[in-house]
């Protein structure tokens, strides 16, 4: 492999990383939002969210990507590839994240909440200052797992013509007739990205020992 191929691979890796990163960032926050709204148990809205979570979790990424990319124009929405990819990945990951956040919310100590109420905190202040910091620590391992699943599932966005880290290996081997080296190189790059993510998990573990009272 020459420097030209490495450059192509890195370009593909960048595409994978930035599209995944944007989707993860929105998906983590959106997941928290969904979990919070579900906690309020608003009739109709709650059922709607349950439906969304079930569908999004059950749909293969490739199907979701294609669906969004192909359906948008029929509603008159001009959708570029990257936007469709981000939307699909976000809708998928937010559904899983919502369940992770909800678990952390439901298992949060009632005693700690009462202590917060007793000294005059409003529920929102209690959420922000007492619950959220601990929910992040508790949820991070699950969230990081989900992030790594998303990155590893991201080659699905190639179906709408995005040249990501997996797609670019096909292109290279189509020219060189040597499929193995670019694929191995791509695997290496995926591992580097995932390894960086897993460092977050170590941080969570380091903080979690305090919570085990």
């Amino acid at each position: 492999m020459n420097s030209q191929t490495w450059l192509l691979l890195l370009e593909g890796a960048w595409t994978t990383v930035w599209i995944s990163a944007v989707s993860i960032a929105i998906g983590v926050v959106l997941g928290l939002g969904i979990a919070l709204v579900r906690m309020l148990r608003i009739p109709f809205v709650d059922q709607l969210l349950v439906l969304y979570v079930s569908i999004a979790r059950a749909t293969p990424l490739v199907t979701l990507v294609l669906f969004i990319f192909l359906v948008a124009p029929t509603f008159g929405i001009v959708m570029n590839r990257n936007l469709a990819a981000i939307l699909a990945l976000t809708l998928n990951t937010a559904a899983f994240n919502a369940e992770i956040w909800r678990g952390a919310f439901l298992s949060f100590s009632k005693e700690q909440r009462e202590a917060a109420m007793a000294c005059g905190m409003t529920p929102w202040l209690c959420f922000r200052r007492i619950m959220l910091p601990q929910m992040i620590t508790v949820s991070l391992p699950g969230l990081v797992n989900e992030m790594s699943f998303l990155i590893k599932g991201s080659p699905a966005i190639a179906v709408i013509g995005i040249v990501d880290l997996t797609r670019v290996t096909n292109r290279i081997s189509a020219v060189t007739y040597e499929p193995l080296p670019p694929i191995l190189a791509a695997a290496l790059l995926y591992m580097v990205v995932i390894y960086a993510l897993i460092q977050l998990q170590a941080l969570a573990e380091w903080r979690a020992h305090r919570l085990a009272v």
Binding site: S109, E111, Q112, E114, A115, A116, M117, A118, C119, G120, M121, T122, P123, L125, R129, I130, P133, Q134, T137, R207, H209, R210, L211, A212, V213
Partner: protein, 252 residues
């Protein structure tokens, strides 16, 4: 007693799933008074205490803090979340299981509410918190996390946390029941000191010696009814009701 009582419960009743846990409770606590609440487990002591700061909502009756309705107003209308919170800020509660916030250090636990609820400047909050931590003998642990502390130390920090809001009344919910016997003394000593400082306190407890030595009034709950209220000398030597006599006989 012409002064407005710091705490007053009038006709408070409450049921859980059809079981009456509080029946028509009347209780007034004057400023500076220490009231111990005794009774068998399940008699409703803790529920009564938790009605005072509305952690439990009574089904009937009114609760007032310093003459102000808490939870529902005089017309029976539910008060806003914000109004309820600011009334609760005027009470301090100490729980059986300490309920410190584990992600915060000792000092952070104490300044959390003063800074974020009362919005007093952090530097002043820290200064006051350190004085309170010294008072409960925990100043040397200011930067420790709760998981490193013993039960007695946690409870002393929890007391400092309650004091930090400068509450008008301190509510203690069996503060020594979760402690190893050798750690009970250090917490009771702190509470005794608070009573001497003139704090108004309502203490749900099983510590007879403490109730006898520290309280101004002892009240006794039986099956959700407040059946006796007396100064400790009379309560422990000449209780009126036969139920209290039996209770004291088994707890001696």
């Amino acid at each position: 007693m012409s002064e407005v009582p710091v705490v007053s419960l009038e006709g408070v009743s409450k049921s859980f799933n059809g079981v009456e846990v509080l029946r028509d409770i009347h209780l007034e606590v004057a400023r500076g008074e220490v009231v111990s609440v005794l009774g068998a487990s399940g008699s409703g002591k803790s529920t009564m205490l938790r009605c005072i700061n509305w952690l439990e909502q009574p089904d009937r009756g009114t609760v007032k803090i310093n003459g102000e309705h808490i939870g529902v107003d005089a017309q029976g209308k539910q008060m806003s979340v914000r109004a309820l919170a600011s009334l609760r800020a005027r009470t301090g509660m100490v729980f059986q299981s300490f309920n410190l916030w584990p992600h915060l250090t000792v000092l952070q636990n104490v300044i959390e509410a003063p800074v974020h609820v009362k919005r007093i400047p952090r530097s002043r909050a820290v200064e006051e918190a350190l004085a309170l931590l010294d008072k409960v003998g925990m100043g040397h642990k200011r930067d420790a996390y709760p998981y490193t502390l013993s039960g007695g130390q946690k409870q002393r920090v929890a007391i400092a946390r309650a004091l930090a809001m400068a509450p008008e009344v301190l509510l203690f919910d069996e503060p020594t029941s979760a402690l190893d016997p050798e750690l009970v003394g250090e917490v009771l000593a702190v509470m005794r000191a608070l009573s001497l400082d003139g704090y108004t306190m309502v203490v749900v407890t099983h510590e007879m010696e403490f109730a006898r030595a520290v309280s101004d009034q002892v009240v006794f709950l039986d099956k959700g009814k407040l059946i006796e209220r007396a100064p400790p000398e009379r309560f422990f030597t000449a209780p009126e009701s036969e139920r209290v006599q039996r209770f004291l006989a088994t707890h001696r």
